[in-house]
Amino acid sequence: MIPLLEVTDLKKHFPIRGGVLGRVTNHVYAVDGVSFDIARGETLSLVGESGCGKSTVGRAVLRLIAPTAGEVRLDGERIDNLPAAQLRRLRQRVQVVFQDPFSSLSPRQKVREIIAEPIVNFGLARGAALESRIAGLLEKVRLPRDAMDRYPHEFSGGQRQRICIARALAPDPDLIVCDEAVSALDVSVKAQIVNLLAELQDALGLALLFISHDLAIVEHLTHRVAVMYLGKIVEVADRRTLFSRAHHPYTRALLSAVPVPDPAAKRQRMILTGDVPSPIHPPSGCRFHTRCPFAFDRCRTEEPVLRRVAEGQVSACHLDVPDAPAAA
């Protein structure tokens, strides 16, 4: 079956200009060969530390930026190289919810206009039908009907994020990219929004690309997880496998940073040391080798490729069993 979204070897290199002439002196290898797919109604979470390129992947999928290389397919149709006019038609099917609920809403538009915008743009409803559609969307995100005639500044962060979700749902999309959609919210509000997203996904059969730096949040609504490090995906696994039997040392380091409910349940902790290397000069071989506790000679020269390590689990690491360093 054709996946809803298929990303193949996606690359985005931002040029760095320097000198008086503004010549390109270098590149930020923000995303450097990323492949994944999302089925209809599925949630894929993209996790990784700040600056690893998660948002850039999301923005490339949304075609807010043009990828440097690679393919993005929606239902098998390439969208990464479409001209603007044809692209607009497809935008209806992929929507977005951003992190900051304050800057995501124009301060000078009423909620009604905000939610109506995509509906009107794609010619989906007008007049009374538009009105009832907006009311229906507000109900879906559990906001009172009289929210329509207010400005965004009259709402709290969590309520604003509901408005953003209503806007994203408005054109009946197949996929919503949630870029850190709950990261800026308080813990209790975070939970409400995560629940709302999970419910909406169940009810509407939506697919989500859920971008987050926080594995703890992801566990509650995702089907699969893709872990990114410095512009590359290092491990993809379904939720259960990833949280119980992660393979890649980086994933395991991320997991050991997640708080556990029962402090008595001792587990092996892995603390990452050192800074994330610059994406302008990524390390040779395995990009994680500068911080990996298991790194050995081969890691510094040969780049590991994603390979299947178990049912529904791929990982890019030279080790078979990452607990024990390979006898080099």
């Binding site: 923005r59 949304l62 807010l64 607009r88 935008r91 209806q92 992929v94 929507q95 977005v96 951003f98 992190q99 900051d100 800057s103 995501s104 809403l105 124009s106 301060p107 000078r108 538009q109 915008e117 995509p118 743009n121 794609f122 559990r142 906001l143 009172p144 009289d146 929210a147 005639d149 207010r150 009259e154 709402f155 709290s156 969590g158 309520q159 509901r162 953003c164 806007r167 408005a170 054109p171 813990v187 209790s188 939970a191 409400q192 995560v194 629940n195 709302l196 999970a198 703890a216 949040i217 566990e219 509650h220 609504l221 997640v258 708080p259 556990v260 409910p261």
Partner: protein
């Protein structure tokens, strides 16, 4: 995991907190009380506007009527501000002069604002134009506005329209820089990206998302442009490169009174006082608006 999001206790509240009731009453009055500089500046400008509009009914005579017998009369009940060297009534000339100053100030603020917005938006959205346009603006801005206006006036005939044009040309690069900066930062804003993702076309993005969020800064900038244009107009007239001498403008009155400064200082004093008050009023309004509309603007302007 400590928090169970789907079934846990923290997630119990599904409904959002209750919204505060909609109140939109008596907003203007509260606004003015909270921003006294806007009230003061606005009131003074309103006064000047009233003077300009109702000049014929404020005890004035024809401001260009010559009366050589009564020339250089001191202020009296008949000539409140005295008369000048041709016997023209200074009170009348000063009041009619408000028309020229306000006309020039507002017209320049509008023209420079419109041209600056156009250039700023174009530079902010069209990458290939950006470099060229901004270098031209840098070039224009490197010439002091007053010199640029003098040069432009030297090329044309003295008339109020040409004064407005010359001052607008020297003022609009500043506006275009400001608008370009705002456009560039707004373009990156998530709400603009969300609009792009929502299928909004570029012209509509500019009209509905970029411009409404530029208005506040433009308004504040317009007050500064207006004040500076009124001063430039007076300077141009004063040195004889501005409004034609037959039209009473504050600059012209001051220029004509200059020779008699030592014996009849009030001929210069009255128009100068009106000019200062008007410029002060416009600046008060601008500062008040800047603080009231958006505290973040304070850094930009």
């Amino acid at each position: 995991m400590s928090t169970t999001y789907r079934q846990g206790t923290v997630a119990a509240v599904a409904l959002p907190d209750v919204l505060p009731p909609l109140v939109r009453r008596g907003r203007t009055r509260t606004f003015l009380r909270r921003h006294p500089t806007i009230a003061a500046g606005g009131a003074l400008i309103a006064l000047m506007l009233a003077i300009a509009v109702f000049a014929p009914w404020l005890g004035t005579v024809d401001p260009t009527a010559i009366d050589p017998i009564h020339r250089l009369a001191d202020p009296s009940a008949r000539h409140w501000f005295g008369t000048d060297m041709l016997g023209r009534d200074v009170w009348s000339r000063t009041l009619y002069g408000a028309r020229i100053s306000l006309l020039v100030g507002f017209s320049v603020a509008f023209c420079a604002g419109a041209a600056g917005t156009l250039v700023g938006v174009a530079a902010g959205f069209i990458r290939v134009l950006d470099g060229v346009l901004m270098r031209i603006m840098d070039g224009l801005m490197s010439i002091p506005p007053i010199l640029l206006a003098i040069a432009l006036m030297a090329l044309t005939r003295a008339s109020v329209q040409n004064v407005i044009f010359a001052i607008s040309v020297s003022e609009f690069p500043r506006v275009s820089r400001l608008v370009r900066g705002i456009v560039l930062s707004l373009r990156e804003q998530p709400f603009v990206e969300a609009a792009v993702a929502a299928g909004t076309r570029l012209p509509r993005i500019i009209l509905r998302h970029i411009l409404p969020n530029t208005v506040a800064a433009l308004l504040v900038q317009a007050t500064y442009t207006c004040a500076s244009a009124m001063i430039t107009e007076a300077i141009l007239s004063f040195i004889g490169a501005g409004t034609p001498p037959i039209i009473p403008s504050w600059g012209n009155i001051m220029a004509e009174g200059r020779a008699l400064w030592e014996i009849k200082p009030y001929i210069v004093f009255f128009p100068a006082f009106f000019l200062s008050v008007t410029v002060l009023a416009v600046n008060l309004l601008g500062d008040g608006l800047r603080d009231a509309l958006d505290p973040r603007l304070a850094k930009r302007l």
